[in-house]
């Protein structure tokens, strides 16, 4: 049995922060109906890569990995007749998820108070960059705004260089997990009390949360510098050059015993008793020199062989992998991380599944939906509109 079987979600979210939250819920068995419009395509559908490099609303692999196991209907929320159909969908739902700008749901007649009137006990989860209250409530932006306002960008990158924004929006990763938690916690709460609620998830705050140790350290020690690749209480702790162009291996030594084993692997037992390196405190005090010693040794070695050698000695070490190496990682193949999923446009593809294994519950991932693929199933079979009503509303542009 799928663990969230029976949970009904009307998903008005788009781009990254909302869809990833409802993806997990759909993969765990909730029925997630994604409300989209041909009038204003989900930006995820126009994000590369595309099948054969050709842009097509159903051909984005980025969209596909963010929307597995969902159903799609097209409703034009700018049309009151479309909103009327949306209300019927809400009447069916346990949960509404959306990440529109502040005030949009209210403007189209779908305030939380209205939702409660339609379906008492309903849960609404709203995701936005900075939350729906406070001076930044109207801030529009993407995951990079959350990185900027949470301190993530300022703390990222090299200590001697400007703030850093890596080419992926970490705010679009963490906030969806918090939104998923919000949905599940609100369902659990409703099971106990019978009460629904409107949960306001900011993209900034989850990033502050996952940086909590940095904020505490700043207040305890005054340390405000960017950490780079270093960590308190661990040395060596870095990413070291290996043989070949842009080949690297991460090594972390948590104790003097691990340092001794690393020294044996380096065939340099003397380094273990070298007073500059013999204790964690001395290694931290001489970390620049320590990194030079390790890097000089790693430079001529294959990154994967080096990682295997050290891991076999009990020293944490891993090659820095690129996208191809991650996709073909033997661990991921062995545990079934990528799930072969047929898709009408993309063909057979390997979709990443949740990082969770249940001993009893079943996780069965389905493909992402084509745009409006489930219009008939939802509008006619689920909501009870007649075929003629649907045809008329499609012609009028209300269901498009």
């Amino acid at each position: 049995m799928k663990p969230l079987a029976g949970v009904r979600i009307a998903d008005f979210s788009w781009v990254g922060a909302g869809p990833r939250a409802t993806k997990d819920l759909a993969d765990y068995g909730a029925t997630v109906i994604k409300v989209e419009s041909r009038q204003r395509l989900d930006l995820g559908r126009v994000s590369p890569p595309f099948k054969n490099g050709v842009q097509h609303p159903d051909g984005s692999a980025f969209f596909a990995i963010s929307n597995t196991s969902k159903r799609s209907v097209t409703i034009n929320l700018a049309d009151p007749r479309g909103v009327a159909v949306a209300k019927r969908l809400i009447e069916w739902s346990d949960v509404v998820v959306e990440n529109f700008g502040k005030g949009y749901m209210e403007r189209i007649g779908l305030s939380y108070e209205t939702l409660q009137g339609i379906r008492p006990g309903i849960i609404q989860v709203s995701v936005s960059v900075a939350g729906r209250t406070g001076p930044n409530a109207n801030l529009r932006g993407y995951g990079n705004s959350a990185a900027a306002l949470s301190g993530l960008a300022a703390l990222s990158g090299w200590p001697d260089r400007p703030p850093h924004m890596p080419p992926f929006a970490y705010g679009d990763v963490v906030a969806p997990i918090f939104a998923t938690i919000a949905v599940l916690a609100a369902i659990e709460h409703r099971r106990q009390t019978g009460h629904g609620q409107h949960v306001d998830v900011s993209q900034v705050e989850p990033l502050v949360h996952v940086l909590a140790d940095r904020f505490v350290e700043r207040q305890l020690t005054g340390e405000a510098r960017k950490p780079g690749n270093r960590a308190s209480g661990i040395a060596p702790h870095g990413i070291y050059p290996c043989r070949g162009d842009d080949k690297w291996c991460a090594i972390a030594v948590r104790s003097d015993a691990e340092w001794s084993r690393l020294c044996e692997a380096m065939n340099s037992p003397g380094s273990a008793s070298d007073p500059r390196f013999s204790s964690m405190a001395s290694r931290k005090a001489n970390e620049d020199e320590l990194d030079r010693v390790v890097a000089a040794w790693s430079l001529d070695r294959d990154k994967h062989e080096l990682a295997e050698l050290l891991a076999s000695q009990g020293v944490p070490a891993e090659a820095v992998q690129n996208g191809r190496e991650v996709f073909t990682d033997p661990e991921l193949a062995a545990v079934g991380h990528y799930i072969r999923t047929p898709h009408a446009v993309l063909g057979e593809c390997e979709m990443p599944g949740p990082p969770v294994r249940f001993s009893s519950s079943e996780v069965a991932m389905g493909p992402s939906p084509l745009l409006g693929e489930h219009n008939r199933e939802v509008f006619v079979d689920l909501l009870g509109l007649s075929e003629q009503e649907v045809a008329d509303l499609v012609t009028a542009g209300a269901l498009s």
């Binding site: 663990p3 490099g53 109207n138 306002l149 659990e188 705050e205 050059p241 972390a252 944490p316």
Partner: protein
């Protein structure tokens, strides 16, 4: 929200965050420690605040029996291994309704179950480190312990999902979370780019490469840094151009029809020419002015806040994001991230 839940937290390092988040949601979390926590003090405060601490000798039979007695009426147990300090079957016998959450570096049923790991090594193997940093230097990890944090948060999702299933079946279950897989999932671009486009991403500094082009993400302004990018959102593009016009900047950006312009398909040289115009504009204005205009007019710019700016943020203060605690060692008042979100009940995480 979850004040009816009882949790035992046996995790050490990895998995601490699962209990921390559940405690913040209102669950009663008892942290059972073999001995006094050896973690760095800042890390211990960050991940273990709001838990009740108990010390047990889990290497002794009596200590393990005490643990099993405690587990008899809890909803969730969090730990790092399926068989330590007691095996799952023993827990299940004592409490068939328990949700047993194991947060581990690698899948405990997989080939690397015993492989040593830290947050840094998991970030390296996940491919995230390969794209963080600058092209002329080594790959980088993200600040903090992000593979651990992701795994911890997925641990909460897994626990609450299993609780939902329990409501239907009456039985708990074992759920395992792989921190490595959590980090790979966060790397949402690179493996998919290889699968569908056979492209391998590299570190690009502050340039965001999309399609045939790329856009700059970090800009110096008069008194610091801001983030903004050319994006395929015509309303945002028009909004910035209008603000620039109002500030006296007339440029070739005025004549671009943004609705029919796909940034990802625009040559990098073209985007660079546009960016030089924006760079000049940003350099003449302050963080606050640019951010205020963006909030008012919606063009997606944000000031880049340092750690002290975030601690002093009016936005976070108004949303009651921070909680103040007293550090038991130094007596200092410390702000720590508090409730996870705002609810329509009576504020943050309320009912």
């Amino acid at each position: 929200m979850l004040s009816h839940l009882k949790v035992i937290d046996l995790a050490v390092g990895l998995g601490d965050y699962t209990g921390r988040l559940l405690a913040e949601l209102g669950a009663h979390v008892v942290r059972v420690e073999q001995r006094a926590c050896a973690a760095e003090h800042a890390v211990d405060i960050a991940w273990n605040i709001s838990k009740t601490r108990v010390t047990l000798d889990l290497e002794s039979a009596s200590g393990r029996e005490q643990l099993l007695s405690m587990a008899a009426d809890v909803d969730i147990v969090i730990r790092n291994a399926v068989d330590k300090p007691v095996d799952h079957a023993a827990l299940e016998r004592r409490n068939p309704r328990v949700v047993d959450v194991v947060v581990a570096p690698f899948d405990p049923a997989g080939p690397n179950a015993a492989r040593p790991a830290t947050d840094l090594t998991l970030m390296a193997r996940s491919g995230l480190a390969n794209i963080v940093g600058d092209p002329d230097r080594a790959p980088m990890t993200l600040p903090g312990e992000q593979a651990y944090a992701l795994a911890g948060a997925h641990g909460v999702v897994a626990a609450l999902t299993a609780l939902h299933a329990r409501a239907a079946t009456g039985r708990g279950e074992l759920v395992t979370i792989s921190a490595f897989q959590a980090a790979v999932l966060a790397n949402y671009r690179e493996p998919v780019m290889w699968q569908f486009a056979q492209r391998i991403g590299k570190r690009t500094g502050n340039l965001l490469v999309r399609g045939k082009s790329g856009v700059r993400q970090v800009w110096r302004c008069r008194d610091g840094y801001v983030t903004w990018s050319f994006v395929d959102n015509p309303a945002m593009m028009r909004s910035l151009v209008k603000v620039m016009n109002e500030q006296g900047v007339k440029s070739l950006l005025d004549d671009i029809e943004w609705a029919s312009t796909l940034i990802a398909d625009s040559p990098r040289e073209t985007v660079e020419a546009w960016e030089r115009i924006v760079e000049e504009f940003f350099s003449r204005h302050t963080r606050n002015d640019l951010a205020r205009w963006s909030v008012e007019r919606g063009f997606g710019l944000s000031q880049i806040d340092g750690i002290d700016d975030v601690l002093a943020s009016e936005q976070l203060r108004e949303r009651s994001m921070w909680r103040t605690i007293t550090d038991p060692r130094s007596g200092k008042a410390l702000k720590i991230p508090g409730p996870l979100f705002v609810t329509s009940g009576s504020g943050r995480n309320a009912s």
